[in-house]
Every structure is written in structure tokens, then in C-alpha cells.
């Protein structure tokens, strides 16, 4: 893989949150070289591949703390304490700080929206505001879980140049990706509860319907990219 080097940007940081949720598929598809992610405490040379570029995990950690400071007394290692205060594991990488922290994830989604340049990403991130579009009072928008899962899946698909023909929110708390290949119709539905459902129908045959793990979407993308 050809690698270029650059400084970490805010966009890299929010992308890393997706990388956390995508860890398995990322390893499978070599999107991210995580074969030997060391603790930043042990080395400052842990490099991650994000969007084809190499960024330094230690730099990410400090940039993260700059972006999301908390009131903590200065200490020898301020960044570690601040990460811990945000729910992160001491000595861990920044994305661990987001575990079980809805407010933090929501903030990152907002950051992502500000940074996102991909129109499909922007479309997914806009679904929270679609109550106006539907003109229905009790619209249940996709929550951060559904949005992050959908963004993660989109990245996995785009690695194989696969793009859903239709991306929509539902009125009841989910996001749908739909693919049409001749008579074959495939749907991925990302629910607020964290469930992802895969439906595959060939013509008028009985469809296959089952839950699918986020890390398996890369395999689906590979299959679709092969026609």
C-alpha cells in the first residue's frame, strides 16, 4: 500500500470513531494497519492509516484533548487524565474514550457533519433533521448508533467502489441502504437499537432476511463489486 504522511486533522479524529466500530472489517480489508497497534505509552510510533494517509496515534490523542477539553488539574500527563475523565481507558487510544458515552458520540457526529465532504456522508448525517422533510410530528429520527453504523458501512462499501442506489431514513428509527443489481434487490437496515438487518431478494423468490454484523459488510461490498 502506498502511504503518504501528513498531520492529523479534526476530520481524522472523527473518522477514528468509525474506525473503532469498524475494527474487524478494517482488519479484514486492510483499510487500517492495526496488526500491531501499540499503546502510545509504550511507543510514539504507532501509525494508523486513515483515508489512505498515515497519521500518528499519539498526535491524535493530544489533538483530541485540545478539541474536547475537560476541567482536570494539570498533571504529568494531562491527556491521559482527560481521556480517562471522558470515559477512556488510561493508556488507551482516543476512540476508546467514546465507549458508552452518548454525549461524546453525539458531539463527534456533529463534528463529522462539519467535516464531511462526501455527499453521501452528509446525507446520512442530515437524517436527524428530517422531521421537517416528512412533516410528521412523531418522526423517530435515526440516532447516533444508526448513523455511525451507516457511516461505517458506507466506508466499507466505498472501499470497494460500491455505492447504494438509495439511502433513506425511515420514520421509525432506522436508515436503509438499497442496492439493485438487475433483478436482485438488497437492503441493509441500520436500526437505532444497533441491529443491522440484511435482506437479499432475487426476482420474485422468497428473500433471505437475517441480521448482519458490521464487519461482514466488507464481504458484501466485495461481492457486489465483483458484479
Amino acid at each position: 500500500m502506498k502511504r503518504s504522511f501528513r498531520h492529523t486533522t479534526d476530520q481524522d479524529i472523527v473518522r477514528l470513531v468509525l474506525i473503532r466500530s469498524l475494527a474487524s472489517s478494517i482488519r479484514a480489508t486492510e483499510v487500517l494497519d492495526t496488526s500491531n497497534i501499540p499503546s502510545p505509552r509504550r511507543t510514539r510510533q504507532s501509525w494508523l492509516t486513515v483515508s489512505g494517509s498515515m497519521i500518528n496515534s499519539e498526535e491524535i490523542k493530544y489533538r483530541f484533548v485540545e478539541l474536547y477539553p475537560v476541567d482536570e488539574p494539570d498533571a504529568d500527563d494531562r491527556s491521559e487524565k482527560k481521556l480517562a475523565a471522558l470515559g477512556g481507558k488510561k493508556g488507551g487510544l482516543p476512540w476508546q474514550a467514546s465507549d458508552h458515552d452518548d454525549e461524546f458520540v453525539s458531539l463527534l457526529v456533529t463534528e463529522w457533519l462539519a467535516a464531511a465532504s462526501d455527499p453521501l456522508e452528509r446525507r446520512i448525517l442530515s437524517f436527524k433533521e428530517w422531521s421537517k422533510e416528512w412533516d410528521i410530528d412523531n418522526y423517530i429520527p435515526p440516532n447516533d448508533t444508526a448513523i455511525i453504523d451507516a457511516l461505517g458501512a458506507l466506508q466499507a462499501l466505498q472501499r470497494f467502489a460500491v455505492v447504494p442506489e438509495m439511502i433513506n431514513p425511515t420514520l421509525e428509527g432506522s436508515i436503509t441502504f438499497e442496492f439493485v443489481r438487475d433483478t436482485r434487490y438488497i437492503l441493509l437496515e441500520f436500526f437505532n437499537e444497533g441491529t443491522i438487518v440484511y435482506l437479499d431478494r432475487a426476482g420474485d423468490e422468497e428473500p433471505e432476511v437475517r441480521e448482519i454484523a458490521l464487519e461482514d459488510i466488507a464481504s458484501l461490498a466485495q461481492e457486489l463489486s465483483n458484479g
Binding site: W130, E133, W134, D135, I136, N138, I140, E165, M166, I167, N168, P169, T170, L171, E172, S174, T176, E178, V180, D182, Y185, L187, E189, F191, E193, T195, V197, L199, R201, P207, E208, V209, R210, E211
Partner: protein, 186 residues
């Protein structure tokens, strides 16, 4: 001026669509059409397949899919009138399905083949929108009144409904229903 007239006039809905004391008409002929609106932002169709998002309110709260009965609709775009508030949805699109196609739909839970699902129709007139009807989801003959679990089942049922619909009017920001300019309580 009665309550209906006050409300429906305020909502700027043409009189022909008001309930006006009419009883529900539960007779749905097989060749009758059902109209359903969708907002312009929805990516509604690709290579002849209608998006499942068009059926996205199936399990929202009422567990029914709102549609307009063609027998009491002068135009397919009558369904763009909002019977509860203004502005109306004139910029939105409209899908249509034939009654016989809805009644022929059938699916089973992929995890439990004993759970079979069919679909029927019910006329549910609103004060200011008489054509309003529901597509009802039936599980083994009984109306579904709770959100089906697991999520795979909800996806499956929506998939079945999706296939019965096709586009009959595309979203148009400048669209006004025929006679809309002169139909205020006329």
C-alpha cells in the same frame, strides 16, 4: 358554520374531500387504487424498485399504512392535502398500489414459518379527508397491534409492501392540485 366547516375551511381543503357525515365504505374493489405520499427528499426508486423507506411508517405508532382510497379521490394528488395542518404537501410525490396487489401479498417470518402475514384494507375517514384509509398488517389473520419483533420481521413486512407500489406522481416544487387555487371550501 359547523365544526367540520370551520376546521376544513381553515385547513384549505376542498369540500369534495370532507367527510360530510358519510359513513366509512369498507368495500374495496380489486381494481381500485390506493395513493400514498412521500417527501421529495426520499430517494424513491432505482431500476424499477421502490424504496422501502416509502413504507417506513408501517410500525411507527398505528401499525397501519395510511393511503387514500381512489374511489373518493378525484386526483391521485388529493393525498397531498394534509388533513391536520397546513401547509399541504403539494411539493411531494405520490405512489399508487392496486387493491388486488395488496391483498395478494403474503410473507412469513424467516425465523418462524408459523408466523404468516397478510394485508387488508380499512376505510378510516378523517373529518377533512374522507378518502383516508389504512393498509392493515395481519398476523395469522389477526390485526397486528404491537411492533413486531425481531427487527428482521419488520424489514421483511415492509419489503413485501414495497413491491406493490409504483410511482404515479413525482415531487414537483411548483405543483398545485387541479383547481387548488379556487377550491377553498367551494
Amino acid at each position: 358554520m359547523d365544526d367540520q366547516e370551520v376546521l376544513c375551511t381553515k385547513l384549505e381543503i376542498p369540500r369534495r374531500l370532507w367527510r360530510d357525515g358519510r359513513d366509512p365504505d369498507q368495500d374495496f374493489s380489486n381494481d381500485e387504487l390506493l395513493f400514498r405520499w412521500y417527501p421529495p427528499g426520499v430517494q424513491i426508486e432505482a431500476n424499477g424498485q421502490i424504496s422501502a423507506a416509502a413504507m417506513s411508517a408501517v410500525f411507527r405508532d398505528t401499525f397501519d399504512v395510511s393511503v387514500a382510497k381512489s374511489r373518493y379521490s378525484e386526483h391521485s394528488t388529493d393525498v397531498l392535502y394534509n388533513p391536520f395542518k397546513i401547509p399541504h404537501r403539494f411539493h411531494s410525490g405520490v405512489l399508487e398500489a392496486r387493491v388486488s396487489d395488496i391483498r395478494n401479498l403474503h410473507c412469513v417470518d424467516s425465523l418462524n414459518a408459523a408466523r404468516e402475514f397478510d394485508f387488508d384494507l380499512a376505510h378510516k375517514p378523517e373529518v377533512c379527508f374522507y378518502p383516508h384509509s389504512h393498509i392493515e398488517v395481519l398476523e395469522n389473520g389477526s390485526k397486528v397491534t404491537q411492533k413486531p419483533k425481531p427487527p428482521t420481521l419488520r424489514t421483511r413486512i415492509r419489503e413485501e409492501l414495497r413491491r406493490a407500489f409504483k410511482i404515479c406522481h413525482l415531487p414537483d416544487p411548483s405543483y398545485r392540485p387541479p383547481g387548488e387555487a379556487n377550491n377553498k371550501s367551494s
